[in-house]
């Protein structure tokens, strides 16, 4: 009986949390309209969430591309199709790995930082202080971070895919001796801009919205203690990783038939 009650409480809490997150999102979205006049706030946040994430994205992209080159070559050469290595590397990166791995890394690097920052602002009563000065913290603090996340994610994903293709070329052409012309021409004839590249960009846009939304919401809702902030940061990484993977499956099923 007691466990049933706890289940019900858990479900009600989750639904309530989802509702609060949606209302919060609407509030932030309406606050974001006023950012056109204060675009410098967004630029500052693009630096914090985008530029500072650049290094980890570039290094991981390079290595993921190189590993794809090695593994793909091993399998493809069994079928005498090593010339298609470029196509394999490019399609895997542009369709799946680019958007997904970027979003996971972004959640770990930038999302957790956003949650911790906002949670600490709340714990040290900076947000309450802003409200006292008639500054809306949603417009001043939250909205620029959300917009910056949405701007940064597709750019980071594109950089990840591009450097991954270069990494695959480095291993495939440089190390394993795949013909450079076949590598690029197979890639170009097999990768469609509208179906593959654009869908990858749409994916990463969606991930940008979801990951940054979860991060700022968890920060804003965190219990204003040091333990509460740490738990909120933890939840940001777990929830956004799960959301990214689940949404990726749904979008892949819808996009690539």
């Amino acid at each position: 009986m007691n466990s049933l009650r706890r289940l019900g409480q858990y479900v009600l809490d989750s639904v309530e949390g989802l509702g609060r997150a949606s209302l919060f999102f609407l509030e932030v979205a309406s606050g974001a309209r006023k950012l056109i006049r204060r675009f410098d706030l967004v630029v500052q946040q693009v630096f914090a969430v985008g530029v500072l994430t650049l290094l980890i994205i570039l290094v991981s992209g390079l290595f993921v591309g190189m590993v794809l080159g090695l593994q793909g070559y091993n399998t493809l050469s069994k079928f005498g199709a090593a010339d298609s290595l470029g196509l394999l590397v490019a399609l895997s990166l542009v369709r799946e790995l680019g958007p997904v791995v970027t979003a996971l890394l972004f959640a770990g690097r930038a999302g957790s930082a956003l949650t911790a920052e906002i949670g600490l602002m709340k714990a040290t009563e900076q947000l309450a202080g802003m409200e006292m000065m008639a500054v809306n913290p949603i417009e001043r603090v939250i909205a620029p971070r959300l917009v910056a996340g949405i701007i940064s994610m597709p750019l980071l994903a594109a950089l990840f895919s591009a450097i991954g293709v270069l990494g695959g070329q480095l291993v495939g052409v440089g190390l394993l001796g795949v013909d450079s012309g076949a590598f690029w021409s197979q890639m170009q004839s097999g990768v469609s801009f509208h179906e593959d590249v654009l869908n990858g960009v749409i994916k990463s846009l969606v991930f940008g919205v979801v990951v940054t939304w979860i991060a700022v919401f968890q920060g804003y809702e965190s219990v204003p203690t040091s333990e509460g902030v740490s738990r909120a940061t933890n939840r940001t990484v777990v929830y956004s990783s799960l959301a990214v993977l689940a949404l990726d499956f749904v979008m892949t099923a819808l996009m690539f038939k």
């Binding site: 630029v43 500052q44 693009v46 630096f47 985008g50 530029v51 650049l54 490019a90 542009v94 701007i151 940064s152 597709p154 750019l155 980071l156 594109a158 950089l159 895919s161 591009a162 450097i163 293709v165 690029w184 890639m187 170009q188 004839s189 990768v191 469609s192 801009f193 593959d196 590249v197 990858g200 960009v201």
Partner: protein, 160 residues
Amino acid sequence: MIQRRQLELWVGVFVAAGLLALAMLAFRVGNLAAGAVTNGYRVEAEFNDIGGLKVRAPVTLAGVRIGRVSSISIDPSNYEAVVTMELDGRYNNIPVDTSASILTAGLLGEQYIGLDPGGSSQYLKNGGRIQVTQSALVLEKIISQFLFNVASKPGAEKKQ
């Protein structure tokens, strides 16, 4: 605290690099550049069977890609497939009695249209029609024909 100008510079570099990467994905990795036909013209051809031909498949002349398939439809009057091709405007001297056949790249590769130029001094124009066509070879049909031939040989019957 990082200087304001430096911060803006870094953001500018980041956004520019991101857009550059996107452009590379579009033109170097993807087929946006290859798919574009400059001031092209359209010609039609009717086929009995197009096999696995798809929209955007290449159209080649002597093995050189000179255009792509822009649409495929059915002619309701005679149930033949009408393939519209968009050819590059640079190659505007293709004779009207050119023949078009659907070929396969490799044994199991992608299908494409190969043009075989005729000898006429009149050239195909926008909206023109290629009269002589050869349909795709469908592997199942060839195999069943082959099996049928083997089975109908007198030697095969004796063995049974």
